[in-house]
Amino acid sequence: MLEVKSLTTTYEGLVAISDVSLSVAAREIVAVVGANGAGKSTLLKTLAGMERPASGRILFEGEDIAGSPTHRVNMLGIALVPEGRRLFPRLSVRDNLRLGSYLHRRKSDREAPLDTVFKLFPRLAERLDQRAETLSGGEQQMLAIGRALMTRPRLLMLDEPSQGIMPKLVDEILDSVRTIREAGTTVLIVEQRLAETLEIADRAYVLQTGRVVMSGPAKEIAGNEDVRRAYLGI
């Protein structure tokens, strides 16, 4: 589904990710793990069109999308739940979700994903008229994922969904990622929480200072002592 070839992105003259290649097959959950500053967020931002790559190719279902603007990438079927969530704080929960399906012209296309989102995160349904900024960190993350699902993506990319969230909700959110995949959406997730993430992922890539240093089935990566010590600092 997604094929990244030798992707390099520089940020203000510094190389943030270098020569990264990876692939994601349909209905997989693929994790990218690594320490803070390893380039995980830059990788997802580049895939989503929020950063322009310096070189390399991003093939999504055969089409090279490297350098395409974010809205076009989204329309092709890739949704990013970004670092810091980037909700529209003064808009209501309902409006944040509705904006997700803004481009679907048919009413049925607009209403259907809403049910999916409410089934996944029932507490969003209770807070429809609240401003997004009044939600707790965990609820905001649910809303950010919900908003992304409203665009009906075939590939959902999550950037550190556990950031700034109480531990109890982290499990809930990671569980929802499983459910999302079971419903047929492919997932690429970036996380610092190694153990929990590798538990839900099929395969994983380890990123260190902008390069892929290891990849393989999530179980192998999780069990690899070298990975834990050298690359993840735990």
């Binding site: 989204n74 970004p82 904006l99 803004y102 908003r147």
Partner: protein, 293 residues
């Protein structure tokens, strides 16, 4: 001394003109709120709309009032074009984006003004005959010049339509979302450049509507936009930068302050009151009356 009738007359004159000021300022405020760009060519948009009205009146022999929606539509295209042709490039500047934007719109103002002088000469023109020109209504002894009354009503209708657009339509939500975080709307598939272009179009259309009605009772010349633009900047600052409906209230305040200053001081000093209020606001409440910056 001022009688009650005098006071009522001053307030009414101020209110009518104030609503027109609000209409002029609305577009400026809309564009600023959307993308933090101050359009220094706003007065020139007004002037363009006045010449467009004049030209259409001459060509089609229709009344300016009938032509005002057409002028607004033309200005929508002008505004959206200015965004696509100039502003979008200014926003891509690698360093000092703020200054580049200031000079881009300031340069646009000089170009439009120069083109107007070249094409139409600096002569003052006016629309000699119209339905409303020179007419006056009187209610309970308070006089209301018909063109100002039409401008005030057009302003209220335009603000009403703007409110409906922003609160009740999907596009309005996209507009609000872009105001909140222009960098994030792409994540839901919205092309922010399209929203920005629409914002410039709407902003120019609002000032275009004002220009069409002003052309009924104002002389038309290449520098006509300047004083109105200055008042619009004061109005936007008073209402709170980016608060479109703050501009409505602020426009009325500015209009009334102007009318009061003209009576209490003298007509030639009517602008002094406006700028005094502006200074007061800057000192006491720099974010404006309704701003949330």
């Amino acid at each position: 001394m001022l009688s009650a009738a005098n006071i009522a007359q001053i307030l009414m004159s101020g209110l009518l003109m104030g609503l027109i000021y609000a209409l002029i300022a609305a577009g400026l405020s809309l564009i600023f709120g959307l993308m933090d760009v101050v359009n220094f060519a706003h007065g020139e948009f007004l002037m363009t709309a006045m010449y467009a009205t004049f030209g259409l009146v001459v060509m089609l022999s229709l009344d300016p009032l009938i032509l005002s929606p057409i002028v607004a539509a033309i200005m929508f295209v002008v505004g959206a074009f200015c965004y696509r042709a100039i502003i979008v490039h200014a926003m891509r500047a690698r360093t000092n984006v703020g200054m580049v934007q200031v000079f881009a719109t300031f340069g646009l103002a000089i170009v439009i003004r120069g083109l107007a002088q070249f094409a139409f000469t600096p002569d003052y023109r006016s629309i000699p005959k119209s339905w409303l020109g020179g007419q006056t209504f009187s209610v309970l002894g308070v006089y209301m010049p018909a063109p100002q009354l039409a401008g005030a009503l057009a302003s209220l209708i335009a603000f009403g339509a703007l409110w409906l657009l922003m609160k009740k339509t999907d596009f309005g939500k996209a507009l609000e979302a872009t105001r909140e975080d222009a960098g994030a709307v792409g994540l839901v598939g919205i092309d922010r450049n399209r929203v920005f272009a629409m914002g410039w179009g709407l902003g120019a259309a609002l000032v275009g509507l004002a220009g069409a009605i002003l052309s009924i009772f104002y002389y038309i010349h290449p520098d006509v936009g300047g004083p109105f633009a200055l008042i619009a900047y004061v109005t936007v600052a008073l209402g709170g930068f980016g608060s479109v409906f703050g501009a409505l209230a602020a426009g009325v305040i500015v209009g009334i302050v102007e009318a009061v200053s003209a009576t209490v001081l003298q007509p030639s000093m009517k602008a002094i009151g406006i700028y005094a209020v502006y200074l007061l606001v800057v000192f006491l409440r720099p974010r404006g009356l309704f701003g949330n910056l």
